[in-house]
Amino acid sequence: MEMADCVAGFAGIDIGGDDGRILGLWPWEPRTGPRRVSKAARSLHKEFFSDMAKQ
């Protein structure tokens, strides 16, 4: 996604919302509070990496 942000930036489009400030959030995501975590990410993390984290 950083690559897309970099390429679009040359056309003046800041899809990363990070020009002049580093946000790492989409324009429609809330600027305050913790980032939202999707159910899919929780489930994939549990499936693949929770055992590795315990070792």
């Binding site: 996604m1 950083e2 930036g9």
Partner: protein
């Protein structure tokens, strides 16, 4: 219908996308022009392009006290392959920084689909709100979880 037709169409599409983006508030040029004038916009434009370019490069070594394993890679998030789980200190150019910083990457990929979690500097690998968790590969990019537009944490 020649090469210029394509160039004009691409230009019009880029201008339209810029307008839509500016209306959404994701183009900071208006604010920059108000603050520093036209000269400031030009300087900031090149500064921001350099920062964006810098964020696309990760080149270095990851060192950890604990042994980890990893054989994983992809080209532009399109061809994920392998498995990795590494949490250590990254030395080099990475996460938009130069030097040494904490780094975590966990990923699985089977070319068409993959999933990865990436954290830089300040993160808790058990708290997904502090890392970038996203699907990769042609199928993974279209299915949740969708990644954010920039590095996490910001």
């Amino acid at each position: 219908m020649g090469r210029w037709w394509v160039v004009r169409r691409l230009g019009a599409a880029a201008a339209l996308a810029s307008l839509v983006c500016a209306a959404q508030g994701c183009s900071p040029f208006a604010a920059e022009a108000k603050k520093n004038g036209a000269g400031g916009v030009v300087v900031s434009y090149f500064k921001w392009r350099f920062e964006d370019l810098f964020e696309t490069i990760d080149l270095g070594l990851t060192i950890s006290k604990k042994p980890y394993g990893g054989l994983y890679g992809h080209f532009a998030s399109l061809t994920p392959f392998g498995v990795t789980y590494v949490d250590g200190n990254f030395v080099g150019v990475g996460g938009g920084q130069i030097g040494m910083t904490r780094h975590y990457i966990a990923g699985v990929g089977a070319l068409a689909w993959g999933y990865e979690e990436v954290g830089w500097q300040q993160y808790n690998k058990d708290d997904l709100a502090t890392v970038q968790a996203l699907g990769v590969g042609p199928i993974g990019l279209l299915a949740p979880p969708y990644g954010g537009p920039g590095s996490a944490p910001s």
